[in-house]
C-alpha cells in the first residue's frame, strides 16, 4: 500500500496513463489491440523525441521554445534538398540544421547571459521566418518513394518510427541516470552557483543540452516528414507547447533540478493515448485540450502538495 502511495507521489502521470488505458479499453472495442499500441507509439514519437531532449534542458533550469520551428526547418531541408544531395545528404543537412540551431541557442544563452526563454523565443520566430523564406511557403514532396516507405516500414511488425523512439528513450534514460553528464544536469539545475563551485563548467554543459534538443527536434521533424513523404512550412506549429506540457506532466519542474525520462515518457504517452482514445470514441478534439489542461494542473498540484513538502521532487 505504501508503495502505491509512493508511486502516486513520485509518478502521478503513470497512474493517469494506466487509468486511461483501462478506461479506453472498456469503452472502445478497437483500443486494446497490438496494432493500436504501435499506432500510439508512432503518434507519440514526434513529440516524444523532442521531449527527451527537452527534459535535459528543463532539468537544467532552461527551456527551448524553438523546437517547433526546428522541426519545420529540418523537415523542409531533408525533403527539399533530396533532388540535389540525395536522401542521405539531405537528411544529414537537416540534422545539422538542428544541431546548429541548438548550438546557437546555447552559445547565445551562455555568452550573453540572456534568459533561455527569450533567446529561444527569438529563435522560434526567426527560424520560422527562415522556413518561409526557404520554402517560399510551399510544401515539398519527396519524389523518391524510398523516403516515405521508410516512414511506413516495420521490423518484426513494429513500426520503425516506434522502435527509434523506444531505443532513444532508453539511451536518454541511461545517460541521465548513470553518467557524469546526467548527474551534472541535476546539479546545474538544482543550484547553478554550487555546481560552478564544484567545478562543473556550466556554460559548455548547457550548450551540450541545447545541441541535444536541437538534434532531437530535427530528427523528429525528419521522421515526421517520412510519414508524409513531404514537408509543409507550417509543420511543428505549437510543438514547443506540447513538448513542454509532456515534460511537465512527467514531473519535471520548470525551475529545474528535478525530473526524469520515465516521467517524460509517461507525459508523452498520456497525451498520445488521450488523443488516440478520443478519436476512437469520436470525441471532438477540443475536449482533449480541456482534459489535458486539467490534468496538467492536477499533476502540478500533487507535485507541490506531496513531493515539495518532503524536499524532494520526482525521482530520476
Amino acid at each position: 500500500m505504501n508503495r502505491i502511495v509512493d508511486l502516486i507521489k513520485k509518478q502521478p502521470i503513470w497512474i493517469f496513463v494506466l487509468v486511461c488505458i483501462v478506461f479506453f479499453s472498456v469503452s472502445s472495442p478497437y483500443f486494446f489491440d497490438l496494432n493500436n499500441f504501435s499506432n500510439i507509439l508512432v503518434q507519440a514519437s514526434t513529440i516524444g523525441l523532442i521531449a527527451l531532449g527537452m527534459t535535459f534542458v528543463m532539468i537544467n533550469g532552461n527551456i527551448d521554445l524553438s523546437v517547433g520551428a526546428t522541426v519545420a526547418l529540418a523537415a523542409s531541408l531533408a525533403v527539399g534538398l533530396q533532388s540535389e544531395l540525395g536522401i542521405i545528404g539531405a537528411v544529414a543537412v537537416g540534422l545539422m540544421s538542428g544541431i546548429m540551431i541548438g548550438a546557437l541557442n546555447g552559445i547565445i544563452a551562455w555568452k550573453t547571459g540572456v534568459d533561455a526563454f527569450i533567446v529561444t523565443l527569438g529563435a522560434m520566430i526567426g527560424v520560422r521566418g527562415l522556413v518561409f523564406i526557404y520554402t517560399d511557403e510551399q510544401s515539398f514532396y519527396a519524389y523518391d518513394l524510398a523516403y516515405s516507405d521508410f516512414g511506413a516500414s516495420e521490423i518484426f511488425s513494429i513500426p520503425v518510427l516506434a522502435l527509434i523512439f523506444i531505443l532513444l528513450t532508453i539511451v536518454a534514460h541511461l545517460i541521465l541516470k548513470y553518467t557524469i553528464h546526467g548527474r551534472n544536469v541535476f546539479a546545474v539545475g538544482g543550484n547553478r552557483v554550487a555546481a560552478k563551485e564544484a567545478g562543473i563548467r556550466v556554460g559548455p554543459h548547457m550548450l551540450i543540452n541545447f545541441i541535444l534538443v536541437g538534434f532531437l527536434a530535427a530528427l523528429s521533424g525528419i521522421l515526421l516528414s517520412t510519414q508524409m513523404g513531404a514537408s509543409t512550412p507550417n509543420l511543428g506549429r505549437n510543438y514547443e507547447l506540447w513538448t513542454i506540457t509532456a515534460v511537465v506532466l512527467g514531473g519535471t519542474r520548470l525551475t529545474g533540478g528535478f525530473g526524469s525520462i520515465i516521467g517524460t515518457l509517461g507525459g508523452v504517452l498520456a497525451i498520445a493515448i488521450l488523443r488516440n482514445g478520443m478519436n476512437l470514441l469520436q470525441v471532438p478534439s477540443f475536449y482533449v485540450l480541456i482534459i489535458l489542461g486539467s490534468i496538467l494542473i492536477i499533476v502540478l498540484f500533487i507535485d507541490k502538495r506531496f513531493a515539495e513538502q518532503q524536499g524532494q521532487g520526482v525521482g530520476a
Binding site: 478497437y30 508512432v42 510544401s139 508524409m228 513531404a230 514537408s231 488523443r275 471532438p284
Partner: protein, 324 residues
C-alpha cells in the same frame, strides 16, 4: 472514368440504440436494410472559416438523417501530422470509408495509401490530392473548377453582349483550383464569344489587396476595360474597389468564379454582375452520398462533382447570402 470498389467488408453490428430508434421512426421498410455503414471523415480545419464550419454542420445533419450511417467526424485543425494520425485511428477502427479533406494535397498521399492498403476506400472531399494519389482514391467529391470557370465565361459573354476587352485576375499560381478556373474560362470564352478579347492575365493570389493592386496596374495600362474576370469574388471585389477609386467601375462588368459574401453584397448594391454559387452544405452532402455509395460497393464516378449554379443580379433572390 468508373471505379468499382470490389471489397465491401462485413459490418459488425453493435446494436446501436440510435440505429434502432432511427429504424423504428422510419417504419418497417428500413428494418430490412439493417446494414450500417461506418464513415469516418477527417476535415481540414473546422472553425478557421465559416465555409468549413457550415460544411461540418451539414455533414453531421446529413449523417444523422441517413438511417444507415454511423459517422466518425474528426478535425485535423489544419495540421498535416494530426490528419495523418487521424487516418491511422480511422484505419484502426476499421471504418468502411474514409473521407479526407486534405490539409495538404501532397503530404497526405502516403496516409491515403496506408488506408487503401488496409482495404479501406478513400473519398477526397472539396480539394483534390496530388496526381500521385489519384490511383489510390475511390472518388473525388467537390466543385468542378473547370465548369465554374466556364460558367463565368458564359456570364461574361451575356453581360457584355458578345463584344469587348477584358482582363483576368487568377488565383495563386501553382494551385490546381487556380489553374482549372483559368482553363475553364479561357476554353469556354472563345466558344461563346469569339469577339471578346482577354487583354491580360495576372495573379491575385486569392488575396483582395493583391487583386486590387493588380487591377490598379491594369487600369493604368489599358484605357478601355469592359470586363474583369476574377477567380473568386474576394479578388473580384478587390478589382471593383480599384476601379471605384478611379471612377471607372460603372463602365466595367465584374464576374467571379466563386461567390463570397462580399461579392453577394456588392451584387445587391448593383456593382457586381455575376458569380458561381458554391454551397458548403451541398459540398458536404455530396461527399457523404458518394461515401455511402462506395461503402455499398456501387460504381461511382472518379470525379463526383456537385452542382454549382450561376448567380447573377436577376436570380440572386433564390440563394442565401454565402456564409464565407
Amino acid at each position: 472514368m468508373k471505379v468499382q470498389i470490389s471489397s465491401i467488408r462485413t459490418i459488425r453490428s453493435f446494436g446501436k440504440t440510435s440505429l434502432i430508434a432511427g429504424s423504428l421512426a422510419l417504419g418497417l421498410s428500413s428494418m430490412a436494410q439493417a446494414e450500417t455503414f461506418r464513415i469516418g471523415i477527417t476535415q481540414n480545419n473546422v472553425g478557421v472559416d465559416s465555409y468549413q464550419t457550415t460544411y461540418e454542420q451539414a455533414f453531421e445533419e446529413a449523417a444523422e438523417a441517413a438511417d444507415n450511417v454511423d459517422a466518425v467526424v474528426l478535425d485535423a485543425g489544419g495540421d498535416v501530422a494530426r490528419q495523418i494520425s487521424q487516418v491511422r485511428d480511422l484505419i484502426q477502427q476499421q471504418v468502411d470509408v474514409i473521407i479526407i479533406w486534405p490539409t495538404d494535397g501532397q503530404a497526405v498521399v502516403p496516409a491515403v495509401k496506408r488506408a487503401k492498403d488496409a482495404g479501406i476506400p478513400v473519398v477526397v472531399t472539396n480539394s483534390n490530392i496530388a496526381e500521385a494519389g489519384q490511383p489510390l482514391i475511390a472518388s473525388f467529391s467537390g466543385p468542378n473548377n473547370i465548369q465554374q470557370g466556364a460558367y463565368a465565361a458564359e456570364m461574361m459573354c451575356d453581360q457584355l453582349g458578345g463584344k469587348g476587352d477584358i482582363v483576368q485576375i487568377t488565383g495563386q499560381p501553382g494551385y490546381t483550383t487556380a489553374i482549372e478556373r483559368q482553363k475553364g474560362f479561357e476554353d469556354r470564352l472563345p466558344e461563346v464569344c469569339p469577339d471578346v478579347t482577354i487583354l491580360d492575365s495576372q495573379p491575385g493570389d486569392w488575396n483582395r489587396e493583391k487583386a486590387q493592386r493588380t487591377m490598379e496596374g491594369f487600369l493604368t495600362r489599358y484605357d478601355n476595360i469592359d470586363g474583369v474576370y476574377a477567380a473568386d469574388d474576394n479578388m473580384g471585389v478587390g478589382a471593383l474597389n480599384a476601379a471605384k477609386s478611379e471612377d471607372r467601375a460603372d463602365e466595367i462588368i465584374f464576374i467571379g468564379a466563386t461567390n463570397f459574401a462580399v461579392g453577394y453584397e456588392a451584387m445587391e448594391r448593383g456593382e457586381y454582375h455575376g458569380s458561381v454559387y458554391q454551397s458548403p452544405a451541398e459540398d458536404a452532402r455530396n461527399a457523404l452520398n458518394i461515401a455511402i455509395a462506395v461503402a455499398k460497393g456501387e460504381e461511382v464516378e472518379k470525379m463526383s462533382y456537385f452542382d454549382t449554379p450561376k448567380i447573377t443580379r436577376e436570380n440572386m433572390d433564390e440563394f442565401e447570402k454565402p456564409v464565407f
